[in-house]
Symmetry: none
DNA sequence: AATGATCTTCAGGTTGGCTTTAGGCTCCGT
DNA sequence: ACGGAGCCTAAAGCCAACCTGAAGATCATT
């Protein structure tokens, strides 16, 4: 059971880490928002404990970014009870549960277990474009009844297109969405993936839903 | 924020209605499928909460009918977890998200908000000149029901004209809009594009909506 | 280590949009 | 009627954008 703890107060972080380790959790700790987002993106965790007030990027933003990126790991938000931050906002941005500071360790443990057990939120919003269905929770995709196997990168690119079905999405936008912030490779990579996607989602079905708009980008149509 | 709740269990419907009302939603309730379909058709809602098992018409059918009719209001499906109904089927018929009963009210609220937020993203306004429709987001154009393929440059020129439909737009204005600042080629290029546009948007339809105003520029009319 | 899957780079080939050119046409003033 | 300025448009060259197969690099798993 892997836990990511994003908490800048070193003392609290240490206590929680030690406690959870003793319960059999494998705990990674990040000390600011950006590191937390990075680690959550790079590793698969079973649950993330996320403080709201963090240096370099607040908890809401981290949470929202993860959800945007299709990461639906259960998130427990830690909110300081000084009234500035709203608990409902935590749930809005995609958190699954929250705990107000100060909290007792026993309560945290119980709620964490509950969260892991029920698997967090049931499912993210699915995207439908014609008879093409994307399920971000399982990184799954199908056209009609036919399941289509996609690699994570392929899915990310298709997801970026599907979220704005009917609109032209530029190559640089796709790059920004599906690749790391600081990817500086050949933008041609997008073409390579579009090509692969067409071979999977269009050709076998005799469709042409993934349109090239020369000089502008690509458009996914609900053919 | 208007919500349509289609749910036959009176007690549950009442609870949800009261809760959502308290959050500032305006809630209408229908107690069977056919009423629900009717109300959804007649009124504009921001989101629809739809039980699967309903008298007189089940949730899948209501959902499918709405989508067939071109109604794309975000739909949250409520599925009873007794295995008879499949969640995937909900997504198939065009639902945007689903929630398994029993669910907690907090979760429903959070997911509803997520749905509305996503569905609420409005596309850039399309421009209409008579029966000519321009969709800037998709770089698409059609006259009536007929889709017209335009290159990005052609679209840019037509867009410049359509935004000021009925007015005369000078060649230099079009140049400034559709070409780079640093373009120093032949202004004749505008004539070339106007020519190409006429061949595409007027000739096939026996129209003449793109008028030359000698010595001044061009005017697009809502013929 | 070895294997297989995925990601990325590379390079050759192709396409199609942009621009220029040039000859013909239209309008308008003289 | 005539000439010229402004406009139209077919045609063709050019070049950036794009496609795609293949090979190398990376990563995860056994």
């Amino acid at each position: 059971m892997r836990v990511l703890l994003v908490e800048d107060e070193r003392r609290l972080a240490g206590l929680v880490r030690d406690g959870l380790s003793g319960e059999g959790f494998a705990v990674d700790v990040a000390h600011d928002g950006r590191d937390g987002l990075w680690m959550a993106t790079e590793n698969p965790y079973d649950v993330i404990v996320l403080d709201v007030m963090l240096p370099r990027m607040n908890g809401y933003t981290v949470c929202a970014r993860l959800r945007e990126a299709g990461n639906w790991t259960p998130i427990m938000m830690l909110t300081a009870k000084d009234g500035v931050y709203d608990e409902a906002e935590a749930l809005d941005t995609g958190a699954d549960d929250y705990l107000s500071k100060p909290f007792s360790y026993v309560v945290l443990l119980a709620r964490l277990r509950a969260l892991v057990r029920r698997g967090g939120r049931e499912r993210p919003v699915s995207i439908t474009v014609g008879d093409l269905v994307l399920d971000p929770a399982g990184l799954r995709c199908r056209r009609g009844e036919v399941e289509i196997a996609l690699t994570p990168k392929e899915f990310a690119v298709l997801h970026g297109l599907a979220r704005r079905a009917g609109e032209v999405v530029s190559k640089s936008e796709l790059l920004a969405q599906a690749w790391d912030f600081s990817y500086d490779g050949d933008p041609n990579i997008v073409e390579v993936y579009v090509s692969a996607l067409r071979r999977k989602i269009d050709q076998p079905f005799g469709r042409s839903s993934l349109i090239t708009v020369r000089g502008a980008g690509y458009r996914l149509e609900a053919t």
